[in-house]
Symmetry: none
């Protein structure tokens, strides 16, 4: 590995805690620079503050940017699961900002630095959650970026809401934008359509979290980075909006998911990262990857599961009215539907499955086939309504 010190930035200090960080920028090359005339920073990690490091790159030199900036989570105290185990929160210093103003200043600064190095026909992706994405999106627009899409990453296995106080936070948002309205950006429409079973790729992507062996762990088994993104996500981003040989910049490189996928896909990368531990992990990770072999260029298919239809949807859709009476197949048991999708039968109330089990004294029950509606004398299971709604949703 080569480390080139390419100068110390004078810096344009930000009015945030981040600004206190070292402005020194050094260049880390996992593999020796190619003597063929490629720039020295290609396929390297710049160590240092994002804005200062980007000053070392020429203007209009990168084709694509993927940025996973700090989210500015504003967490209260500790959070425990119902089994009393403590949630390993992302409380790292780099995610702390004093105010929205400080976060905005930080965001404006790195986006301006990125805009300088982005080619005029390049594009940028930024990922975030509701804590920060609205500020990022507004500042992107203020800086003249042109939003092409917002993409929602639907997590198939998100962390639940343990206290039952909100909806499960089951997605993150990515903004895809060009530096100007006129940009002739790369979008591999046909490839994506083919990938998606000949249907246009939609703005909602179902992908699992980064877990298991993909998740980088240190010697003690702890995760190296609190927010490592899954390679499948980057795979789809790079496949959609870059070409082989393109240069992909990640200004918050972390443990190098962007670099890893770029290398696999035959793209060049350049990363910026401040924390030595992350750089070290990223370097090892990327070195172990074989660059752009043909077979690996196949995209991982995100399984598009058949939509699950909750019982309550029948009421929302107007297929069932609150107050409707349901019976068991033989008409012995009776229950009434409430507006919230619960059933009431005598003293019992709850979901169609729970009440079905309770009235039978059974452990479990499939409410869809147990509960029936009286249709002009004929008893039909509510499952018939589900089929109807499913066909509507499939249109």
């Amino acid at each position: 590995m080569t480390v080139l010190r390419i100068g110390v930035s004078s810096g344009a200090p930000l009015k945030t805690r981040r600004s206190a960080a070292s402005a020194a920028v050094s260049l880390v090359t996992p593999t020796p620079a190619d003597p063929s005339g490629e720039p020295a920073w290609l396929n390297t990690i710049l160590k240092g503050d994002c804005v200062a490091a980007l000053e070392k790159l020429p203007a209009k030199s990168v084709d694509l940017v993927f940025a996973d900036p700090p989210y500015n989570l504003q967490l209260g105290g500790d959070l425990h699961r119902p089994d009393q185990s403590k949630v390993d929160a992302c409380d790292d210093h780099w995610d702390q900002f004093e105010s929205f103003e400080a976060y905005d200043a930080f965001t404006r600064a790195w986006l301006m630095a990125v805009k300088r190095v982005l080619k005029k026909d390049g594009s940028i992706w930024v990922i975030g959650s509701y804590h920060n994405i609205f500020r990022v999106g507004a500042i992107l627009q203020d800086l003249g970026f042109w939003i092409l899409n917002d993409i929602v990453w639907l997590k198939s296995n998100p962390m639940p809401n343990f206290r039952g106080k909100r909806f499960t936070n089951a997605h993150e948002t990515m903004i895809w934008a060009t530096p100007s309205r006129e940009a002739k950006y790369t979008f591999n429409y046909e490839a994506l359509k083919t990938f998606n079973d000949d249907l246009q790729m939609r703005s909602d992507w179902q992908l699992p979290l980064c877990t298991g062996s993909e998740r980088l762990k240190d010697a003690s088994g702890q995760k190296v980075h609190p927010t490592q993104k899954p390679e499948s996500l980057l795979y789809r981003v790079l496949t959609a909006s870059s070409k082989p040989g393109d240069i992909v910049l990640d200004p918050f490189f972390g443990t190098g998911t962007t670099g890893a996928v770029a290398k696999r896909l035959g793209r060049n990368y350049v990363g910026v990262e401040r924390e030595e531990a992350y750089i070290e992990a990223a370097r090892k990770r990327i070195d172990a990857i074989e660059a752009g072999s043909g077979a690996s260029l196949d995209m991982q298919k995100g399984k598009r599961a058949e939509p699950r239809i909750p019982f309550g949807s029948l009421l929302e859709a107007g297929l069932l009215a609150p107050g409707t009476e349901l019976t068991c197949p033989k008409g012995k048991h009776l229950a009434v539907v409430r507006a919230d999708g619960s059933l009431v039968s005598g003293d019992h109330s709850g979901s169609i499955h729970k009440v079905g089990a309770l009235v039978q004294g059974a452990e479990a029950c499939n409410g869809w086939t147990f509960w029936h509606i009286n249709d002009n004398g004929a008893r039909n299971p509510v499952d018939e309504l589900r089929k109807l709604l499913r066909s509507r949703l499939a249109e």
Copy 2:
């Protein structure tokens, strides 16, 4: 139908094209006002500009707000499908703004007006697309609103991207927020979980677009409103975050989807709308709906709603005798019940919760489910006794 002119607003003119609109505010009641002391504006549509109209409502008077503001779409000329037919875009004058600054000023103005009339423990939903939602979200935060969730509405049948230049825009985003971090907002967690087949509801909602007979059409078959939302969306919003009898405000009432669902679900509504044609359509629509009432509106309740039973009551009721031995689920920890309802386990003594936590070395513990009684070899949690006592007390 009653139309009450309740005054002409002096207005606080906005620096947008909207400000040119009439500041006259009149009150439209689909059904005559109730003489029972309800405010005259309840279940009515206020005709006029949003900010001016909201000045007619008392401060802290509504429980929930649902807002579907103009999206500020920046369409660059007509869009044509591959077959050259023209797409019926939303190019109404009310959706046009001269700049982001103008849109921001408009957004700030109506959000401030809404914040004044919202109760301190109320909440607000705003829906938008990537054209405007980032600006709305950032301004919400700037005004001190506290975001609880962002919810993505996944459209099962979105309009495809005809030119193949972007991903199919298949979702819209809703922000759910309270007027302050401290708000004790309504969230019918248990009801939603029951609704969703006993799984907690996530932040991604798959619902079809408003089409078919639900979509309001005029005499010539044209859609009355370009962005009519499906009732199913409002059904879920109101079920999640309001109670029967609550007052729901929609400051961009349009053709009254919010009012229609509010009436169906036994909530009160108040709408604000500028266009007479929309008001007329909304009025007819809501008049034709039967108001929800009665037990079918009751929502599934969780343990939090149950009356609290002190542990000592079990002793008072004779369900438990002093000196009884309790164990943890696996029988490892042992404790003895004292006559005052406290437990003793080794050196530890105190409430069932405190001792449960101490013997486990945990921060907290629910003693009701932790401590078990030996019933002829079977271990049953003391919570079973609480249930028994509760059912006795309910008789």
